[in-house]
């Protein structure tokens, strides 16, 4: 079992960082700060997985990231509810925060062709990267020019399209294993599914961002 020097060096640094973070966690008393420190621990976990540096390790980074984000989100939500309950018991009335519109000038004057280029380029790329590029194009358009209102049906419809595209991606992925002869079909199925899925998700995020930026709920 011969380990490379770089791996050993990286592990020593990561373990040192982990030790410092745990020490900080043990000393910190306030809940919010401990939550932030636990998020930093999740970051060091990613570093430890990434140090391995093989193709397989690269695949393992995404699940690790998703799991740590899910954990941090869950406990952040619990912290909010906990503090809210505490305040309610003390009789404090909690008001929802008001946002005033940002009114950024460049949003009205920017050229729309950029969005078009991004969407076309994303469609050519396909896959996760293509979805992200096309999604940025959609976000760009929705943030700057689109003035329509989203109804609940519209939102649900877009989410459904996203969900169905995601299952196409899964089916394509399964076909690789079950019938490898149809690899080209499977590739297009999964690539196309993923581009639609990521782009629609980005679009929904874009609408949310536009509304909160304009001070609408």
């Amino acid at each position: 079992m011969e380990l490379s020097e770089a791996y050993q060096f990286g592990m020593i640094i990561a373990m040192g960082a982990a030790f410092i973070t745990f020490l900080g966690f043990a000393r910190e008393k306030r809940d919010l700060h401990r939550l932030v420190i636990s998020d930093m621990v999740a970051g060091i976990t990613l570093v430890i997985v990434a140090i391995v540096g093989t193709d397989l390790a690269e695949c393992l980074i995404l699940p690790t990231l998703v799991v740590s984000v899910a954990e941090v989100l869950a406990i952040a939500e619990i912290l909010i509810h906990k503090e809210e309950l505490k305040l309610r018991e003390e009789g404090v009335i909690i008001s929802t925060p008001n946002y005033s519109p940002l009114g950024i000038e460049v949003f009205q004057s920017s050229s729309i062709i950029v969005a078009l280029i991004l969407i076309i380029y994303g469609a050519i790329l396909t896959g996760f990267t293509g979805g992200a590029v096309a999604g940025v194009g959609m976000v760009y358009y929705l943030l700057t020019r689109w003035d329509g209102k989203i109804t609940k049906d519209f939102w649900d419809g877009i989410s459904s399209v996203s969900g169905i595209a995601w299952t196409l991606w899964l089916v394509g992925f399964l076909l690789f294993f079950i019938v490898p002869e149809f690899w080209l079909f499977a590739l297009f199925l999964s690539g196309g599914g993923l581009v639609v899925k990521v782009a629609t998700k980005f679009g929904l995020i874009g609408i949310e961002g536009r509304d909160s930026m304009r001070g609408e709920s």
Binding site: I44, V49, L60
Partner: protein, 217 residues
């Protein structure tokens, strides 16, 4: 001496790098986890009765329907993650399933809107997030030193003792057993008997599977 700790291998599914294998041990644990999930999903939730100290009185805590629905959903997800952890033949998948069990355990108790339960859930969640570092760290070290994550192949390879220690620590933190039990103890004051049982059961079963993996490594 410790060869074939789970019994004789009944079958191996060659599916790329991940090699799921079935032994009488994993199979019986898998069936047990699924059966318990079905039983708990069908069980009627209890109403908690608290005796008033020093008086001939009691108070009845009736959880709301929405709260119970959410908790039952979380129990089902937890049961599925648990059965996945029981049957998987990949060390990284095992750690992912254990983390998922941890998150769903927080979900089971977080629906209870009582300050002391939420406080305990928050502390348990922090420990869960911190424990993901040794847990994923162990899997990454095994991958970095042995070059594979398949438990079937790891049986014949040797791994660093540090990886085993980290894995044990990670599982202990994630399921909230002995050294970290203080974070979880308050949780069991939450009303809703059949769902709280899942928190116990998942911890016990994950620990048993971890013992098998630690002996096998």
């Amino acid at each position: 001496m410790l060869e074939g700790i789970g019994g004789e291998i009944l079958g191996v599914i060659r599916f790329g790098d991940i090699v799921p294998y079935i032994t009488p041990f994993t199979l019986s644990m898998f069936i047990l986890a699924l059966t318990l999930t079905v039983l708990l999903a069908l069980a009627k939730p209890e109403n908690q009765i608290l005796m008033v100290f020093g008086k001939d009185k009691y108070s009845l805590i009736k959880p709301t329907i929405e709260e119970m629905k959410f908790r039952r959903f979380m129990v089902i997800v937890c049961g599925l993650a648990l059965s996945g952890a029981m049957i998987t033949g990949d060390l990284f998948n095992f750690t992912l399933f254990v983390t998922l069990v941890g998150i769903t355990n927080i979900g089971i108790i977080a629906a209870v809107r009582r300050p002391y339960v939420l406080e305990a859930a928050f502390q348990y969640g922090l420990i869960c997030t911190l424990a993901s570092l040794p847990l994923f760290g162990a899997a990454a070290i095994v991958l970095g030193t042995a070059g594979t994550l398949s438990l079937h192949e790891l049986e014949t390879l040797s791994v660093l003792p540090m990886a085993k220690i980290l894995l044990a620590f990670g599982v202990a933190g994630e399921t909230g057993i002995a050294p970290f039990y203080a974070a979880k103890a308050e949780v069991f004051r939450a009303p809703g008997a059949p769902y709280i049982l899942m928190v116990h059961l998942s911890a016990i079963m994950v620990v048993i599977r971890t013992a098998e993996i630690l002996l096998l490594l």
